[in-house]
């Protein structure tokens, strides 16, 4: 069952977030929330307020603070939320946003207990919303809206979409693209946890259907089957070139590599196995993450030729 309804595509010109998004920050008055809210506002994101239970009615960063997400939806017409709530309370914050009618929920928080996310993910499946993350850098539409923690200055408006499990590796890809003269349509950081709201396949699908995206960079990691699922989908339905990379070719089996989800469990979720499937599905796979930009240039040349 798709978690997103058709009208969202029509409402927004870009994928997930854009100039028309009315963004609230959950955990608004905390240090992380404050810092990144300021950065988002400076980038031009339409931040209409924030939520901190008990501080409703006050102002923060010249914007209203609400006690509940529902208040923010009713009084400020919020439709996108970004969450900076501490891990023990973050799953609750996700469910509150979904229940209040927020359409796009971006959860930055790292370290949410897995069983909390199992509950939250199953709960929001019954709501009309899409969750990005948790443990992710957020969503960025250059020139439109930054709903995340990425450094805005490395991005450039353009037509390449990015899907990635990792934050700084996304920045790496963006930087290489920008330096190669290729701007970005939307970068979606889906997160490195074992349970996340939007899978690689779903994010690729959003970009594949986006008229403002010409090609896609898909960055994965060891662990799980999401990249293989996306690759098979691309083989069936893909209409745009996809450049891919899987981090962790040198990671030993059975060891967790930083991200809670980045662990090789068997023969199927190694970097080599995923890269093989991706290649077989027509994705331009690079072995070196230093070649993401160069490979995209090549892939686009082939398409035009």
């Amino acid at each position: 069952m798709p978690l997103i309804c058709g009208k969202i595509y029509n409402t927004y010109m870009s994928v997930l977030v854009g100039k028309n998004s009315k963004v609230i920050v959950q955990g608004f008055t905390g240090s992380e929330g404050s810092f990144h809210a300021e950065q988002m506002i400076a980038y031009g994101t339409n931040v209409v307020g924030g939520v901190t239970p008990g501080k409703g009615g006050t102002m923060h960063l010249d914007r209203p603070v609400f006690n509940t997400v529902r208040d923010a939806v009713v009084k400020a017409d919020a439709d996108v939320s970004i969450i900076f709530v501490p891990p023990a309370f973050a799953a609750d914050a996700i469910m509150e946003a979904a229940d209040a009618g927020i359409k796009v929920i971006v959860c930055i928080t790292e370290g949410i207990p897995v069983n909390d996310m199992v509950v939250a993910k199953n709960y929001i499946a019954t709501k009309d919303c899409r969750l990005i993350g948790p443990n992710c850098p957020g969503v960025m539409t250059p020139g439109g809206a930054k709903v995340g923690i990425m450094p805005g200055f490395i991005f450039k408006e353009g037509r390449i979409g990015i899907v990635s499990k990792s934050g700084t590796l996304t920045y790496e890809a963006v930087d290489q693209l920008t330096k190669a003269g290729l701007g970005q349509s939307t970068a979606i950081g889906i997160g490195g946890d074992p349970i996340i709201g939007t899978s690689t396949k779903e994010a690729v699908e959003l970009l594949m259907n986006d008229p403002d995206t010409d090609a896609i960079i898909m960055i994965g990691e060891i662990g799980g089957t999401m990249e293989a699922d996306a690759a098979y989908w691309i083989k069936e339905h893909g209409t745009k070139p996809v450049v891919g990379f899987i981090a962790g070719q040198t990671a030993p089996a059975g060891r967790r590599m930083g991200h809670a989800g980045a662990i090789v469990g068997g023969a199927d979720d190694t970097a080599a196995a995923k890269m093989k499937i991706m290649r077989e599905c027509g994705i331009h796979v690079v072995e070196s993450p230093a070649q993401l930009g160069a490979m995209m240039v090549k892939a686009l040349e082939k398409t035009i030729a």
């Binding site: 207990p113 990425m150 450094p151 990792s166 290489q176 490195g192 981090a247 070719q249 070196s288």
Partner: protein
């Protein structure tokens, strides 16, 4: 986080899961006392002595230089003493420990549960873990207990059953009954299995675990259902609300350098290559390891300094990497977002001065926020550091310094 069998069993018991009773001991004499006490408490005549290490395959594993197995049946108190003396202080090598093995410092003296009786004993397999694809926890169980479940899955997949749990309502009685009947149990044993599964799931959720594996689950000759072995892995993220469980951590089971890195809030995994690396972000850290390999080296570690990298974390990272004598070069790869590259560069300069003579070449690649200022700082410091701007330049420098 992994814990020992004896700790796992204590937790299960607290949740009403029937277990093979036992008492932990740290010396041969202690083991004899434990055996006597256990005989009084449970009426068992024989006991099983089980080495406590964080690895499976103990029954087939041997103590280095001897024929002593990691799990052994003792038919007398003299046996208990001999076996325990062999195990404690010895190094147990199993299929899961690697050649280096693991040092045994404790044994679990446990009751013999395979006693004869009205019906034959029967071993089953049961585990609870997260099914990432379904986004739900799943109970995996099989009639083929006591053996390697991966072999069972490979040879006779039809004998592996799965029961997914709806997180909103938890494990339902009908599911527990289905499991008991699928395992071929009737009468009292069936009832006991329903109770066993229900309480096992409660324990899994109550402890915020990531994996439970009970192999074997035993039906005794008098129709009890008990956990004979127990592997419990806690979800590290869940430990924020379980201080009592965090206290069960046995750091002697972990790599000492990894423990030290953890104390400095560094996410470090030791590997056996020759190029150390220090990176911000887990994905970029893995990618940097891959770059090292493609450049002709082998990564000596995974090290994510996180989103708040500063002079102090950089210095701690250096000290940890340099503990490894195999390290022939170090690659620092920072993509500054919120992290400012000039601060990291200052950290490199400070660490160099504080640590003194760093004997291996260092390649520093700083990109993103204030990268230009950072490169200037490094270049003007007079330190023998190779600086790079792009990832490819950094990769080429790795090749250069290794040759």
């Amino acid at each position: 986080m992994n814990i020992h069998e004896y700790q796992a069993k204590e937790i299960l018991k607290k949740y009403g899961v029937a277990i093979q009773e036992g008492i932990v001991a740290e010396s041969a004499d202690g083991a004899v006392d434990a055996a006597k006490k256990l005989q009084e408490q449970t009426g068992t005549s024989w006991v099983v002595v089980k080495a406590q290490i964080h690895a499976g395959g103990r029954g087939k594993g041997k103590i280095t230089g001897t024929e002593q197995r990691g799990v052994a049946l003792a038919k007398s108190l003299d046996d208990v003493k001999t076996i325990s003396a062999n195990l404690i202080g010895g190094t147990l090598v199993t299929i899961q420990t690697g050649e280096a093995g693991k040092k045994v410092s404790k044994v679990l003296v446990a009751q013999d549960v395979y006693y004869p009786g009205a019906s034959p004993t029967k071993e089953f397999y049961m585990s609870i873990l997260l099914d990432r694809k379904e986004g739900k926890n799943v109970i995996i169980y099989s009639t083929e207990g006591g053996m390697d479940i991966e072999d069972v899955a490979h040879n006779t997949p039809e004998l592996i059953h799965k029961e997914h749990i709806d997180p909103a309502i938890g494990l339902q009685p009908f599911q527990a009954r289905k499991i008991a009947f699928n395992l071929g149990l009737t009468g009292e044993a069936n009832k006991q299995m329903v109770k066993f599964v229900s309480n096992l799931y409660k324990a899994y959720i109550g402890t915020d675990s990531g994996m439970f594996e009970i192999n074997p689950v035993l039906k005794t000759s008098d129709d009890k259902i008990i956990a004979v072995d127990a592997k419990v892995n806690f979800d590290d993220n869940g430990l924020i609300r379980h201080a009592d469980q965090l206290a069960l951590r046995d750091t002697s089971e972990e790599d000492p350098t990894e423990v030290e890195a953890g104390e400095s809030n560094l996410n470090y995994v030791k590997l056996d290559g020759n190029v150390g690396c220090m990176v911000n972000g887990a994905g970029l850290a893995m990618a940097t390891m891959d770059i090292i390999k493609l450049s002709g080296g082998d990564p000596a570690n995974f090290l994510d300094v996180g989103g708040s990298a500063n002079a102090k974390t950089v210095e701690a990272g250096f000290r940890i990497i340099l503990k490894d004598p195999n390290v022939k070069a170090i690659l620092i790869n920072i993509f500054g977002g919120i992290v400012r590259c000039d601060r990291v560069a200052q950290g490199v300069v400070d660490a160099y001065q504080n640590i003194g003579n760093i004997p291996v070449p260092i390649i520093v690649r700083l990109q993103g926020t204030n990268a230009v200022e950072a490169k200037k700082l490094i270049d003007e410091s007079g330190l023998k550091v190779f600086s790079a701007i792009t990832l490819q330049e950094a990769a080429d420098l790795v090749t250069q310094v290794l040759n």
